[in-house]
Point group: C2
Chain length 139, copies 2
């Protein structure tokens, strides 16, 4: 199992590295072909291709100069082949859709990872923004 934890740790580091190079082809290669991804506003992408396209659009526009820092990762095996990796992240350098710079933000990303034949891939991702000093959604 320690090999699997090491592979999972490397995968999460690679997630941030691809983001920060804005290399969305490499980013998408971290996902299984049928992976799903829900982003911080509840957009639900299905399959590696949709995940790549959505992130390509974001990284050509409001995330073009963004920098993702993984502040903490906890990895937890839940079966022989499946691990849950949960990260607290911080994002800087992003803009509004009109190009206006925005303040740093933080969130929590959960990735469900599957190891098979020595390969580790993301089979599911969901992201949630941290809204400080709130117990539930402010409205």
């Amino acid at each position: 199992m320690s090999d699997k934890i090491a592979d999972a740790t490397k995968l999460i580091q690679e997630f941030a590295a691809c983001w920060n190079r804005h290399d969305m082809k490499a980013f998408a290669s971290l996902f299984a072909a049928d992976a799903e991804f829900v982003n911080v506003v509840g957009l639900w992408w299905k399959g590696r291709e949709q995940i790549q396209q959505a992130h390509e659009f974001a990284h050509a526009t409001f995330f073009r100069d963004s920098r993702l820092t993984i502040e903490k990762t906890e990895i937890r095996p839940v079966s022989e082949s499946i691990l849950i990796a949960r990260c607290r992240w911080n994002l800087t350098g992003h803009t509004a859709e009109d190009g206006r710079p925005l303040p740093a933000r933080s969130g929590i990303l959960v990735n469900v990872l599957k190891t098979s034949n020595g390969e580790c891939l993301i089979v599911d991702s969901q992201n949630t923004d941290i809204i400080e000093h709130q117990l539930s959604r402010p409205q």
Copy 2:
């Protein structure tokens, strides 16, 4: 596998049923002892007991009269024992912390489920609010 899908479907229905009876002991019993839960503002609870306590507080206050409707559930096996159940939900009847009624809201909940010895439990949950007409977090 069809039995596992049926068990998973029942578990998700039970999630909403416990919520709507505001029976947080029964709600917590749907989770494995070491399950984790991240709510819509990024609060990260670890273990069934924390999950129960946090939901008991919410259901004694701002979720006391809330009603959760699961609008759509998609269940996807990712290994022999692990399934991913993703639901789009709608919540009504909740209030602000000061008791003021709030409008209906929607979100996406991912539950990672584990089946073993004929039992199906949630091993991980993460919730994200849907913010319509946004590509990323509005700030």
